[in-house]
């Protein structure tokens, strides 16, 4: 077994709204090894983003992590001080988001964004930071990086901005990159390029990736393992070939039936699948190992 990087145990994250408590993440457990790419799939609203934000401890009120452990290299992130947590964000664990068009501050150059991360985590300033930032842009395939470093976000296309986001994320050599639907907002041709870039960098940088998506085609292409989320719970998790060969959970099977052809990944969320848990099964969520490293929600196995 390879070294464990992240172990999430019984994670619970809830939103305390005026209309009641929303259990966005409900008793979720998963693990990630070094250099492993884990896909988290599920329809829109199933709790994928909140799971990743919980790992970063960036869930904002009215939301709160209410239970569980998030073990990062043996330390429970929930027990760290805010300052200790900040040292991890952007350095050990970096994140890129779905909307490259709005993920950069319009009033600062792209270079300023990268240099901000370098200053925070590598204590680099001035010319040293600038040179590293140019190199970071170069690494993600931005042409003429020495000049583009002074460009403002609005002067770049969506694809280029997502490359910038990746450059920022990778500038401090994270061990884990969380990518929350990194290509959903991009054109199909640009999607392919950004994905190729992520594949290359994953090998070069020796890092693990948590890839959040609702595109099973993307999972097949990128991931080692998959966790299928539904209504805040993981209903099935397995190696990627297991999931495609032996989907055990009806919800997973439904997801697989709705795979789009690879080159026309949908921009719209998947249609809601018709599978619902039986009433008497609702309270149980224990996963059962039905094959080596293949876990399924007990009441559907």
């Amino acid at each position: 077994m390879s070294e464990q990087l992240l172990q999430v145990r019984n994670l619970q994250t809830q939103f305390f709204t005026d209309d009641g408590i929303i259990k966005a993440v409900d008793d979720v457990s998963f693990e990630m090894a070094r250099r492993e790419t884990l896909g988290i799939v599920g329809e829109s609203g199933s709790g994928k983003s909140v799971t990743s934000l919980s790992v970063m401890r960036l869930v904002l009120p009215p939301g709160r992590i209410t239970g569980g452990e998030i073990n990062w290299k043996g330390r429970d992130l929930r027990k760290l001080s805010e300052a200790e947590m900040r040292a991890i964000r952007g350095d050990d664990i970096a994140m890129i988001f779905q909307e490259p068009m709005t993920s950069l501050d319009p009033l600062y150059t792209v270079g300023n964004h990268i240099e901000e991360a370098l200053r925070l985590h590598q204590n680099l300033r001035g010319d040293a930071a600038r040179q590293r930032a140019i190199a970071a842009l170069d690494d993600v395939g931005i042409p003429d990086a020495a000049r583009r470093i002074d460009a403002y976000p609005h002067q770049m296309s969506g694809g280029m901005r997502q490359r910038v986001m990746i450059a920022i994320a990778l500038s401090c050599n994270p061990d884990l990159l969380i990518a929350d639907e990194p290509t959903t907002a991009l054109d199909v041709t640009v999607q392919a390029k950004v994905l190729d870039l992520m594949k290359d960098l994953r090998v070069q940088r020796d890092m693990a990736i948590m890839l959040i998506t609702h595109n099973m085609g993307l999972v097949a292409e990128m991931c080692d393992r998959v966790a299928v989320m539904h209504r805040g719970k993981i209903v099935e998790s397995a190696d990627v070939n297991q999931i495609f060969a032996n989907p055990a959970h009806p919800y997973t099977r439904g997801l697989l039936r709705s795979i789009p052809t690879l080159d026309s990944a949908p921009k719209t969320p998947l249609p809601t699948l018709d599978w619902q848990p039986e009433p008497h099964q609702k309270e149980q969520s224990h996963l059962v190992e039905i094959a080596p490293r293949h876990w399924v929600s007990a009441w559907a196995a």
Binding site: M56, L58, A83, R86, A87, I88, R89, G90, D91, A94, M95, F97, E99, T102, S103, L104, D105, P106, L107, Y108, H113, E116, A117, L120, H121, Y152, H154, M165, I168
Partner: protein, 321 residues
Amino acid sequence: MLRFILKRLLLMVPLVIGISLLSFCVMQLAPGDYLDQLRGDPQIRPETIERLSQQYGLDKPKATQYVLWLVNALQGNFGPSFTYKIGVFEVIMQRVYYTLLLAVCSLIFSWSIAIPMGIYIATHRNGLADRLMNFVAFAGISLPGFFVALLAMKLAQQTGWFPVGGASSPNYEQMSWLGKVRDTGWHLLLPVLVLGTRGVSGLMRQMRGNLLDVLSENFIMAARARGLAERGVVLKHATRNAINPLITIFGYELSGLLAGAALVEIVMSWPGLGRLLLESVTGRDLYVAMGAFVMGATLLIIGNLIADVLLAVTDPRIKFS
């Protein structure tokens, strides 16, 4: 950028001429002229009035009067003041200095209070300060400006802590350089407080709203995910983005500021442009009134230009055009 500013200044010329014509016409709305006051005075002989009338060109047809003024004005001569017996330009420049002093100090006062307070209540939402400010803002909006100004005058009179009106002490000319600054500051304090607090509550609410909007933007979460502390997130990213719309609003609210300044000037006898305008209109001092109108409009236009330039400097998305 220089070309942009020059272009805007050139565009200003026809506008200002239009305003001068308008103010000329407004001044003609009331019957008679400045000399009518003298005509009623039995001590002044008709010949003297006749001579003055010719000297000031008041005997000519109205249209000719205006054109004569315009031709002279374009050469930098804005005509004489009937009341002060000196050139209009001199009269006005001194008043402009006092109005700008009042307006700029009030602006600095209200921004330096409203922006930090807006940031504080946005980041401590529904806290005690937020709720208290809601109340204060409500009170601030509903109290009429002249009432506050009168209240301030009453306070100055009762306590003797502040000068009751005016911009300088009688012995101002004998003071040292530092003494003059202190004296002006002391006279300025109450008018600035009255004019400055007027804008605070509105500006603060706007800052709060803008900041809350910006704080929910994706790039804010991305900055947090880079490991930036919340303080840095708010001050470096959120605040700058929240202030920019205020700069645009600033351009629009300038006229309100000048109107407010005029009110404070009149109630608190601050020798500014607004007060001069009132005096010259009631005293039928034609060219001073026209000059004051034109100067007021010019201040507005230049203020708007400054706001535009400022915005273009702070926001890379905005180009000079």
